[in-house]
Amino acid sequence: MAKILMKGNEAIGEGAVRAGCRYFFGYPITPQSELPHYLAKRLPEVGGLYLQSESETAAINMVYGAAGAGARVMTSSSGPGISLMQEGISYLAGAELPCVIVNMIRGGPGLGNIAPAQSDYFQATRGGGHGDYRVIVLAPASVQEIIDLMQVAFDLADRYRNPVMVAGDGILGQMMEPVELGEEKEIEIPPRPWAATGRMGGDKKLISSLYIVPEELEQHNLKLAQKYTLIIEQEQRWEEYQLAGAKLVLVAFGTAARICKAVVDRCREEGLAVGLIRPITLWPFPQKAFAPVINEAEGFLVVEMSLGQMVEDVRLTVNGRRPVYFYGRCGGMLPVAADVVREVKKLYGGEGQ
């Protein structure tokens, strides 16, 4: 099939529709507006529903209702709105409901600005809400990958009965790239025997995260923990770029990773053995990606559009065996390839820090 040129935000919408999502509840916020605009048009075409909620808090709870009633459902927002969803996300995780939440990260804290950033990494991977829970976090780096990962996102949500977050930034959302959409397939949504859809002659079903007896809540927590362990084992995803023989390994995701690819290219041109690990799942963090390189690599340079958040996961993974350096831009500023190359050269050979 022919390629078409598409914005990242629109690709999220189209990817969701093609993954069988028929319900969107959300509240407008920059820089993800093209997504609701797209879905407001597109969902009715496929018999779906775009409903603008009165707030992000309402949106995430509509998602809770729709997911509990058995639908493939999603919402989308950015920083401030995602913060408002934290209680709801914690409930979704607690009640084990599948859904997809998009966060097009912007500059923070507070109102900050609408420029691209990655400073919601902690919130996404550690759980910005209360309690012990985890959300699977996917970080695409191109418009084509958005299309592909939306299917993955809905599938993972269903497989593990867990919220999945797709984390991008304003650049990914507004950038246009060619995409191959492929045939539109009839999606079969896995059966949901647990959904509360009215008894209709069957057993009573309950959607809840309340376990008033501590012994029971502990059991529930341990059950969730088991699930999370399984996800850590099975679902780590990453891309490797020029890792062969790399002495310095860059680690970056999303837009920062694209810039880092350019950095790797330039460095390799200049004969510097630099490679890149691009986490695609931010949680579970792709620790497996590090095992094969840790012996050869002399160090790691984490590049983020933040003051340094993923760098903690890299440090936890490397666990003191190699130095881990950090380079970041923040507040909506992008790392410039030339600056990162300079940083690489400073570190190269281990003269860093």
Binding site: L5, E177, R258, A337, A338
Partner: protein, 186 residues
């Protein structure tokens, strides 16, 4: 082939859609392309620019911080972005709207009275295409045919009657730099 083109001007001057057109054409020619917008602090009315990358190889970074070519549609954009162009690169200045000159000596600079040429053709709306024609002529990044084909896919059918005019604008731009190149050579 690797071209990173930055197109900058006031919001409302159509710089974003011109960039999209260019990217589309690149895609139709089987190139790797990306288009990325950037807005000024103002919600609207302020400055706007977009970066288009067209390459034979997969594009690592879509962010155009060091353009190989720069198209500027207003004075602040020239002042802001002139310095970012790679040495040996290209700057196309819409001299209908910009009354200053570029200061870089290590790049090629062309002054194109795009609005005037466009009005000569019958509509100031095709000024962007005039300057795009010049870019195509000077860089060969895509062919005018690909741009015309893109227009056919991008414009709604009831506006396809605009396509010949756009094509003429591309050609006018091309002719101008052709001439001026000839003049230089001469």
């Amino acid at each position: 082939m690797y071209q990173a083109i930055l197109i900058a001007g006031f919001g409302g001057q159509g710089v974003l859609s011109t960039g999209q057109l260019l990217a589309y054409a690149g895609m139709l020619e089987g190139k790797h392309v990306s288009w990325i917008p950037s807005y000024g602090p103002e919600m609207r009315g302020g400055t706007a620019n977009c970066g288009v990358t067209i390459s034979d190889y997969p594009i690592s970074s879509p962010v155009v911080t060091e353009p190989t070519s720069l198209i500027v549609m207003n004075r602040p954009s020239l002042e802001k972005f002139e310095g970012s162009v790679v040495p040996g690169g290209l700057i196309l200045v819409n001299s209908s709207l910009i009354d200053i000159k570029a200061t870089r000596k290590d790049v090629r600079v062309y002054y194109i009275p795009a609005n005037e040429l466009a009005e000569e053709l019958g509509s100031s709306k095709v000024a962007n295409n005039v300057i795009l024609g010049a870019l195509l002529e000077l860089t060969g990044v895509v062919t005018p045919d690909a741009v015309e084909k893109s227009l056919r896919e991008v414009l709604p059918p009831h506006r396809h009657d605009m396509i010949p005019l756009n094509r003429r604008a591309l050609e006018a731009g091309a002719a101008l730099v052709h001439r001026s190149a000839a003049a230089r050579a001469g």
